[in-house]
């Protein structure tokens, strides 16, 4: 008896199932509420997909678009350097004739050996969005490479080639090499604020890479007390790219100013709430010569 009942039940169950599927084929009546709920749901899913696509655009597509622009700028720079009659570098390697900077055009190449020998960018003049899509941009009216004052460069941290993606990883004494048509300039990241106090007793200070690097407050005086290897500031603190960072009223005559390099990017990553700033000081320069590559280029 009992098994038979179970059989019956099973049959009934399957019958129900078939019955349900028949019902599905005939769509339920479309009420206005049903349509509205579905419409809102679909709209929300669509907006979510658009936001995801935007992330893909920011992080990957802008890289591709910028890589092309960077390549064009580099090609233009190479042909300019190749065709121009090279004015010989001045006798004093630290005195150089001014470069003729044209907005949106590359005028120098930049290397950070610790980021690998594939890390190289052509630096363009200007820091508008259009300029920074091409590559790192030189703040107009700041010093030129090798000049006394502050050679300041901005670069993207996310997307658009993200030249300054890893700027936070730079340590004191890391080299940043800048090449112009006639000269190489080697800048080295200054001691971090935590290293300033004990720099003299720090074993790192004796490494060959740190030759010429010391807290600026000890070598150049109090005007440079706030100029350390890395700082995080508010977007409004434009004084970090002043000839003497944080000193808007020039306290030191131009010929006694240090030759600094300042890199700026956004911080934290994916946000523009703050700016990450890296300061470096020129320690060496070489004339450009065929086949010559500064030894600093193989560091890292």
């Amino acid at each position: 008896m009992i098994p038979r009942v179970e059989d019956d039940y099973d049959d009934e169950y399957y019958d129900d199932d078939y019955y349900d599927e028949d019902e599905k084929d005939a769509l339920p009546p479309e009420s206005l509420a049903r349509k509205t709920v579905r419409g809102v749901g679909e709209a929300l899913i669509t907006m979510g997909l658009v936001v995801l696509l935007f992330v893909v655009y920011e992080v990957y597509v802008t890289d591709l678009l910028s890589a092309e622009k960077q390549q064009e700028a580099t090609a233009a720079l190479d042909s300019e350097w190749g065709s121009n009659t090279v004015t010989p570098p001045p006798a004093d390697p630290n005195r150089q004739s001014k470069l003729n900077l044209i907005e949106g055009k590359a005028f120098a190449k930049m290397y950070i050996p610790v980021f690998g020998n594939d890390w190289k960018f052509s630096v363009v003049e200007g820091t508008t969005d259009k300029h920074l899509e091409i590559g790192p941009g030189h703040y107009k009216d700041t010093a030129q490479p090798g000049e006394a004052g502050n050679f300041a460069i901005a670069g993207h941290r996310v997307g658009k080639g993200a030249p300054f993606n890893d700027l936070d990883l730079l340590e004191s004494c890391n080299a940043v090499v800048v090449q112009t048509q006639t000269q190489w300039f080697v800048y080295r990241v200054l001691p971090m604020s935590s290293e300033v106090a004990g720099w003299a007793s720090n074993p790192k200070a004796k490494q060959p890479a740190c030759a010429g690097v010391a807290p600026l407050s000890t070598t150049l005086g109090d005007a440079y007390a706030k100029t350390v290897g890395q700082e995080i500031v508010l977007p409004t603190q434009g004084e970090v790219i002043a000839p003497i960072p944080h000193q808007t009223a020039a306290a030191v005559p131009a010929d006694k100013q240090a030759r600094l390099l300042t890199l700026t990017t956004c911080h934290p990553r994916f946000s523009d709430r703050q700016r990450l700033i890296v300061h470096a000081i020129e320690t060496k320069s070489y004339p450009v010569a065929d086949g010559f590559v500064p030894p600093e280029m193989t560091e890292g």
């Binding site: 820091t127 901005a154 500031v233 434009g238 700026t264 956004c266 700016r275």
Partner: protein, 51 residues
Amino acid sequence: MYGWIWRHLPGPLYLRVVEAVVLVVGIVALLMFVVFPWAEPKLPFNNVTTQ
């Protein structure tokens, strides 16, 4: 919305699938190359300069 579009695509099933793919690719391209480049400077992600 999606159901409405699907029902209004003409032709047999295989053609509708092709049409749907073309539509999606077209909209993605429009977003990537027109809408996002326009919208991006207005969003606060990528300001790297100090003022």
